[in-house]
């Protein structure tokens, strides 16, 4: 990582072996002024990441809640099925997905890309959230029930606030997955200005490994991972408060 940071600030000539040189921003300039500019990719990845995360959580929370409140025996069987789905190799779905994209004219549609992403993340998200729901004592919900709260009120005021740490980490995992996902993005997106980060960087790296523009690649790597690190820092407080809350409860 540090080496990438270093590489990204060195002139091309130095990197390919010839001569010595100072520091440079040429790779960053090149990237940011490219056509389309690199920021487009970041934005695209952000859109896909956010919409996928939102969609996944929207579907996963009710499922996880239902599973956690079901009879132990039935819930267990469903959980195993969900786990099996989570284990299904995503690579093997590419082609089928591609046909879906073509048939429904979803290619190059960033929001549509969140459909397969949500599908892929859903099983894991359900399992994570189900475990978290199970950790909330049933008595808490029963107390709310006795107080006359509706299902929605119980979720809104009692369950979801207590789930915040679990939901944050699930959201983070989903977002990171979408941010980094490569094969599906590669096949669904072809228009240059619709590319997400991973295929864009791969395009910079070129098709053959012997003609890689090291500097530009390193700069792209740095720019591509910076937002993630930023999110990690923002979420860090969330995660820590989540951990602390758990400690007090225990």
């Amino acid at each position: 990582m540090l080496w990438q940071l270093y590489t990204s600030f060195r002139p091309s000539a130095v990197l390919t072996g010839g001569g010595r040189g100072g520091w440079t921003l040429e790779h960053y300039e090149q990237l940011l002024n490219g056509d389309p500019p690199f920021l487009t990719y970041l934005l695209n990845s952000g859109i896909v990441g956010l919409s996928s995360t939102a969609l996944t959580l929207l579907l996963a929370i009710p499922c996880a809640y239902a599973l956690s409140r079901m009879q132990a025996h039935r819930a267990r069987n469903i959980s195993v099925a969900v786990a099996a789905a989570a284990a299904f190799p995503a690579v093997l779905l590419f082609l089928a997905l591609l046909e879906v994209a073509r048939d429904f004219h979803l290619a190059n549609n960033l929001l549509a890309l969140s459909l397969p992403y949500a599908g892929l993340c859903l099983p894991l998200a359900i399992l994570l959230l189900q475990a978290a729901f199970r950790d909330i004592p049933v008595e808490l919900e029963e107390a709310a029930l006795m107080e006359g709260m509706s299902l929605w009120q119980r979720l809104r005021w009692v369950l979801l606030p207590l789930m915040a740490p679990a939901i944050s980490s699930a959201a983070l995992l989903i977002f990171i997955f979408c941010w980094n996902e490569y094969p599906i993005a590669l096949t669904w997106l072809s228009q240059a200005d619709r590319l997400t980060l991973a295929p864009a960087i791969a395009r910079i790296a070129g098709s053959s490994i012997f003609t890689v523009p090291y500097g530009a690649f390193a700069a792209a790597t740095v720019l591509g991972s910076a937002p993630l690190l930023l999110i990690m820092l923002v979420f860090q407080r969330q995660i820590i408060s989540g951990l602390t809350q758990g400690a007090i409860k225990g």
Partner: protein, 347 residues
């Protein structure tokens, strides 16, 4: 002091049953609790007392029978419509909310005017001496404070019935004793019927007007503490109430004679026996000091017998001394006879 005449305006359980699979958790339970009356459901774990409470609350479904509250049948109604407040064993406070918010949330969601909520919450906080922890989270409270917040939340509802599920079991023994009187006073002041679940006989006796002793889902006996203690209808009730528990001796074929430890007296075997008394020779085992009283353990005809005496009494002195053969003596009128097979009280 005790208003044990059940009014139709209180809680009435009629032939309540709950079965899950093959198991009968509540077996044909009928009870009445008048407004202002505190009824304790007492029994060992698994006796169905918590299940009964949950059925009344609507958290568990009754298999048959009916539950009536304030003259209305509520058997099949959802918990929210029953107008019943419950204090949970774990208190079930919302851990992410302050004490004040814990109290007000339910009212807010039912669209009670904010000014009214404010007033009610402050009144209850003052009543339970919780003003100082108004803004604290449940995790920052002591066990006793948490219990009071849970109680406050129940009081705020002004419900037609209070249900308490072992609200003291997470507290220290000392605190438990101190809070008993306070809790009793507060519950009394509401004027609503109260059902109090506990496995602790002292708590039941100290708090409740009447006690229902349960075993395996079946009602064993219902009455005031003194009545259950003096006149138990079967061996289970006799053994469950009283500490140390009653001595059961196979003195007659097919029957057990129950003798309360405090009704036994230690005496030199050489001393004459009064006509209304009976006696058994006993071997001393050991002594337990309980402050002002002493439990002495004896071996009598192969079974272990406990005697409870005042620390200053002659019995205690004899139990400590080491000379001469000793007898345990009792007045025959204190004997409780139980059928050995069924445990039913004979006389």
């Amino acid at each position: 002091m005790t208003s044990s005449s059940p009014a139709r305006t209180g809680l009435v359980l009629s032939q309540l049953c709950r079965r899950v699979g093959q198991q009968t958790l509540i077996d044909n339970l009928s009870l009445e609790v008048a407004p202002g009356d505190i009824l304790a459901l007492l029994g060992p774990s698994g006796c169905g007392k918590s299940t009964t409470l949950r059925c009344i609350a609507g958290l568990d479904r009754a298999s048959s029978g009916s539950i009536e509250l304030a003259g209305k049948e509520i058997t099949g109604r959802p918990p929210a419509e029953r107008n019943v407040a419950m204090v949970f064993q774990s208190y079930a406070l919302y851990p992410h909310l302050s004490v004040r918010k814990n109290l007000s949330l339910g009212l807010e969601l039912r669209r009670v005017p904010p000014a009214e909520i404010e007033e009610d919450v402050e009144r209850v906080l003052a009543l339970l001496q919780l003003e100082a922890c108004r803004e604290r989270k449940p995790a920052e409270l002591s066990g006793g404070q948490r219990q009071r917040v849970a109680l406050a939340r129940a009081l705020l509802r002004k419900p037609a019935l209070f249900l308490l599920d072992e609200p003291m079991s997470n507290l220290d023994a000392q605190l438990r004793e101190d809070l008993r009187g306070e809790l009793r006073g507060i519950l009394r002041s509401t004027g609503a019927p109260v059902v109090y679940v506990t496995h602790d006989q002292h708590e039941a006796m100290g708090l409740a007007d009447r006690i229902a002793v349960l075993k395996a889902g079946e009602l064993q006996q219902l009455g005031a503490a003194a009545e259950l203690y003096r006149n138990p209808q079967n061996q289970f009730v006799a053994s469950f109430l009283g500490s140390p528990s009653i001595n059961l001796l196979p003195l007659h074929p097919g029957a057990l004679v129950g003798l309360r430890p405090e009704h036994l007296e230690v005496m030199e075997a050489s001393r004459p026996l009064a006509p209304e008394q009976a006696a058994l020779n006993a071997q001393r085992e050991h002594l337990e000091w309980l402050g002002d009283r002493v439990i002495s353990h004896w071996r009598v005809q192969g079974t272990s017998v406990k005697v409870l005496s005042d620390a200053q009494s002659r019995s205690a002195a004899l139990a400590q001394s080491h000379d001469g053969p000793l007898q345990l003596r009792w007045t025959r009128e204190h004997e409780l006879h139980f059928e050995q097979a069924s445990g039913r009280r004979i006389r």
